[in-house]
């Protein structure tokens, strides 16, 4: 398997679609997607993502998506002791509202002091589109420094500044020298990548280039955990193995980012999120990335813990923890399996995360006949088939007959739900649950992304589903009283991807 090389020479991260062959629209069986991705499976091209046989479908109709700059805001904007400068007209600044809410609630969940997020927008106007906005960027970076004396400043780009060609790298270099702190340009203009997950990579690229310590002093008991704002479940879990946790990127301090290179290994809760940074840390600093199934369900978690035990030389402790944990959850797991028998679930989340959640649902005995991911990466940056999270769920829990890649396209979601009629859906990211609600189907938004992770996660998710099913009352009542914004012609279509196959159908 050809290993993907992370290129840190330029400030611009290579897009996901270029690096990994990412697609945003596809429909079929999960087993076919795994095969065509040719990650661990032998595909047509012989097992390298670059040669995979994955055909993306494309249609004339699309609904609003999400952009990479939003993701940069929710990553770089959420680093404590730092400031994010959005070099953009004021509209991109609207993201501050969402990130502030996530930041505050995330801080509270981790028992950290709650405060407002620190993001400044350079607020470009019409004349700046003509004459350039570099001077305003300088002002705003200076403001960020004068106001907060941060330990790092991130600069995000926007569609406008990319089109007018402002020299953001130049300003970053100038201020890195002037302020003696890392001033990190993050190229993330929305139009540059078809999928927002490039925004994760862009942030991680900047962190790898300019913040991670170049002369690390190894900390053999430190584990990098690449996550979001999730509750602190990794400290007690990895504590059982005598390991300490370094949470990255959201809510981390700049110092926590700097010590990424000193850790014994890197793990994540979702390969979509952790792929780039983990591979980069291994390539540049020799910090091994844990290559195993993700920590979801019994099989996945066992393998994941064992691999951490092996890499950190704590095999015995790992085995003891596995045995203890199985015993701990056994009784409630069996009860939940009985209570959830015959219940049908649907997962609609980011790519690798969906694979993990499906595993947990199946572990709980929930039927999963359909699911969608917002994008699909045929491979991850490590190129290691042990990370083939889609194949893992199929091999251990069976196929998913209706498996779709649909980038937050609510109009398709209607038909996808009708195909399998689930009792509930599991989501992350906004946009789809409101439609499910209008169809009488309750959704669990996994705001705490750790809720389903590892052994306790199986139980947590089971309990969440039981709570959720009670909500059905509200949604079923609503469904009786609202009209959907879609025409009957569309609602009657059996194939939600028909427009990709017969684009002329819209002018008939």
């Amino acid at each position: 398997m050809a290993k993907k090389k992370i290129n840190l020479k330029t400030t611009v991260v290579e897009n996901r679609e270029q690096r990994l062959g990412t697609i945003i629209a596809w429909d079929g069986k999960a087993s076919d997607l795994a095969k065509e991705s040719a990650f661990s499976r032998q595909g047509c091209g012989g097992g390298d993502g670059n040669q995979c046989n994955l055909c993306e479908v494309r249609g004339p109709f699309t609904q609003g998506s999400v952009c990479s700059e939003q993701i940069v805001g929710c990553q770089a904007g959420n680093v404590r002791n730092s400031v994010l400068v959005q070099h953009s007209p004021i509209g991109c600044g609207a993201g501050q509202v969402e990130w502030n809410s996530l930041f505050r609630n995330g801080l509270a969940q981790r028992n950290l002091p709650v405060e407002s997020i620190r993001i400044l927008c350079s607020n470009l106007k019409e004349s700046d589109m003509v004459f350039g906005g570099v001077e305003k960027l300088r002002n705003t970076v200076q403001d960020a420094w004068d106001r907060y004396k941060p330990e790092a400043i991130f600069i995000s780009t926007s569609c406008s500044t990319a089109i007018i060609g402002d020299d953001i790298d130049g300003v970053a270099t100038e201020f890195t020298e002037k302020l003696k702190i890392p001033v990190v340009p993050l190229h993330c203009e929305g139009f540059r990548s078809k999928h927002w997950s490039t925004g994760f990579d862009s942030t991680q690229h900047g962190i790898l280039r300019q913040i991670v310590r170049k002369n690390p002093k190894k900390q053999e008991d430190l584990v990098n955990v690449i996550n979001l704002w999730g509750s602190d479940i990794f400290t007690p879990m990895l504590g059982e193995l005598g390991l300490r946790v370094n949470y990255i990127v959201d809510l981390a301090t700049v110092e926590q980012l700097a010590q990424l290179s000193e850790a014994a290994c890197t793990v994540g809760f979702c390969y979509t999120l952790s792929s780039y940074l983990a591979a980069g840390l291994e390539q540049e600093f020799g910090v091994p990335e844990i290559k195993a199934p993700q920590p979801y369900g019994l099989v996945g978690t066992d393998a994941w813990i064992r691999e951490i035990g092996r890499v950190t030389n704590r095999e015995e402790k790992a085995e003891a923890y596995i045995e203890k944990s199985h015993k701990k959850i056994e009784k409630r797991l069996n009860e939940l399996r009985k209570e959830l028998k015959g219940v049908k679930g649907y997962v609609a989340t980011g790519s690798a995360y969906a694979h993990g959640i499906i595993a947990v649902l199946k572990e709980l005995g929930v039927e999963v006949n359909g699911s969608l991911t917002f994008h699909h990466d045929p491979v991850y940056d490590s190129g290691d088939p042990k990370q083939d999270s889609l194949a893992h769920v199929i091999d251990n829990y069976g196929d998913i007959p209706s498996f779709s890649v649909s980038n937050r396209q609510q109009f398709q979601f209607y038909g996808l739900l009708k195909r399998v009629n689930p009792d509930f859906i599991i989501i992350r990211h906004n946009g789809l649950a409101p439609l499910a609600s209008r169809l009488g189907i309750p959704a669990a938004p996994l705001g705490d992304e750790h809720i389903a992770v590892a052994y306790d996660g199986i139980i947590n998710l089971g309990e969440t589903i039981l709570d959720l099913l009670a909500h059905k009352t509200f949604h079923e009542d609503l469904a009786q009283h609202v009209k959907l914004p879609y025409k009957k012609w569309w609602l009657d279509q059996e194939d939600p991807f028909i427009l990709s196959k017969e684009p002329n159908i819209v002018s008939q």
Binding site: V97, S122, N430
Partner: protein, 452 residues
């Protein structure tokens, strides 16, 4: 976090703790009209950002029929940047007609098509020529904020959809131009109350946005109205002036959105004088409303007079001019609170600022106060920190951004404006006769809930 440098106060171009959306945020002007669906010709994240800021983390109002993830969007990619996005927009509109059930589509442009020079007017024109109900507005984010975008969208619907009219006017009917939908967290309940009291005195009311709007048929009847009512410090004046020219419609401008009986009664008298309404009917309605209002105030007086553990005396208001002025007036003239600091945040066009200042100067017979115009959250924070609120903590009428300074000042905070990320707002209103009582509930529940 390292210590804050206290000396930085000059205004620069920077904006932190944002207080409004950009021009394309006016997709929520379109979405606020029942049956109207926006189509956004912009980057992949623009519509979602405006949604999350304006309609989600601002009272969790929700997208409803045509907001949230519903609006069709081009999701501009590199291809449309290099080769232009007109073909892609054409294809999107064509398929939207087949899939989305709308009475009217409003195409809004973002920064990218405005920069690369897409001729959106001609693409939309092709559909208009076919008789499709569709209009467009150029709302690239660098052109302005969602307040100016709002007036652009309103104008585009009037000029491109409502069209010309030289027929009869309908006596005692009014078009209301007031709070900015979604930006103002409480606009739905408020417009409902405004419509209710205007109908109460005998007007036929085109409220135009929200649950009480009839949608596009109501918009079609705009030209027939006797007059336009601009009920806000400045937003809507552009529209009213345009309608005055276009339909020969006079307008009445009342800058203070009324909260409480005193101000609402005054407001209704002014409107009824302008419209020439039946005085008896007007007075009968006012009497009935005041009776109810003072029934509740009479009972509230026990608490207001006898609560042992202290209530705030001074206040600060931070937010859009409409609510800022309305709330300030109510607090001073109804409750007898003392103004500490008023900061208007929506980037009020300069030509309107003097008139607004004047309103604060003459806020009541006995009290005169001032107002600052600041958009950047950091400077707002500095201004609040440097205000002398006297011997006890004030109550802040502000936004989620002021939660930290509220803690610093040991103050109560009532989130009354964008963004209100710790309020869930359905039909709650703070204006008119009824809304004022809700506001009293909210203020004093907040104030005493910290007492033990």
């Amino acid at each position: 976090m390292s210590s804050i440098n206290e000396t930085i106060k000059e205004k620069t171009n920077s904006i932190s703790q944002i207080r409004y959306g950009c021009s394309i945020g006016a997709l929520y002007t379109a979405a606020a009209i029942p049956g109207v669906v926006p189509i956004t010709h912009c980057g992949p994240g623009c519509a979602d950002k405006q949604y999350l800021a304006l309609a989600f983390y601002n009272g969790f109002q929700g997208g409803g029929y045509s907001g949230g993830a519903v609006p069709p969007s081009v999701n501009v990619s590199e291809n449309e940047v290099v080769f232009g996005g007109e073909d892609r927009l054409r294809e999107l509109i064509e398929s939207s007609l087949k899939i989305i059930d709308a009475d009217l589509f409003v195409v809004l442009t973002g920064c990218v098509p405005d920069l690369v020079g897409d001729d959106v007017g001609s693409v939309v024109g092709e559909f208009q020529d076919r008789g499709v109900n569709i209009v467009y507005a150029e709302t690239g984010g660098f052109r302005g904020n969602n307040f100016t975008g709002h007036e652009l969208v309103v104008k585009s619907i009037i000029d491109q959809y409502v069209g010309n009219y030289d027929g009869e006017k309908e006596q005692h009917s009014v078009n209301v131009w007031s709070l900015l939908p979604f930006q103002n967290t409480f606009w739905r309940g408020d417009l409902e109350e405004i419509k209710r009291v205007l109908e109460g005195i005998g007007l036929k009311v085109n409220i135009l946005f929200g649950s009480e709007s009839e949608g596009v048929s109501e918009w079609k009847s705009i030209p027939k109205a006797q007059f336009n009512l601009v009920l806000s410090p400045w937003l809507g004046l552009e529209t009213a002036k345009h309608l005055e020219k276009k339909y020969n419609q006079p307008f009445l401008h009342i800058p203070v959105v009324p909260i409480g009986a005193k101000e609402t009664t005054r407001f209704l008298h002014e409107v009824s004088d302008f419209a020439g309404l039946d005085k008896e009917k007007v007075e009968a309605f006012i009497k009935k409303e005041e009776k109810r209002y003072y029934y509740y105030l009479e009972h509230f007086a026990d608490f207001y007079a006898e609560w042992w553990w202290g209530l705030p005396a001074k206040f600060a208001v931070v937010g859009d001019s409409a609510y800022n002025l309305a709330v300030t007036k109510f607090l001073i003239t109804q409750l007898g609170l003392i103004p500490g600091k008023q900061i208007i945040t929506e980037n009020t066009p300069e030509e309107y600022q003097e008139a607004i200042r004047n309103e604060y100067k003459h806020i009541s017979d006995k009290v005169s106060t001032d107002v600052e115009f600041i958009e950047d959250g950091y400077l707002i924070l500095e201004s609040l920190r440097n205000t002398d609120f006297g011997h006890k903590p004030p109550v802040l009428f502000a936004t989620t951004w002021e939660r930290d300074v509220a803690k610093e000042l040991n103050a109560s905070i009532v989130e009354i404006g964008f963004p209100a990320s710790y309020e869930v707002v359905l039909s709650r209103s703070y204006v008119g006769y009824r809304g004022a009582l809700n506001l009293l509930d909210k203020i004093y529940t907040t104030a005493i809930s910290t007492s033990a």
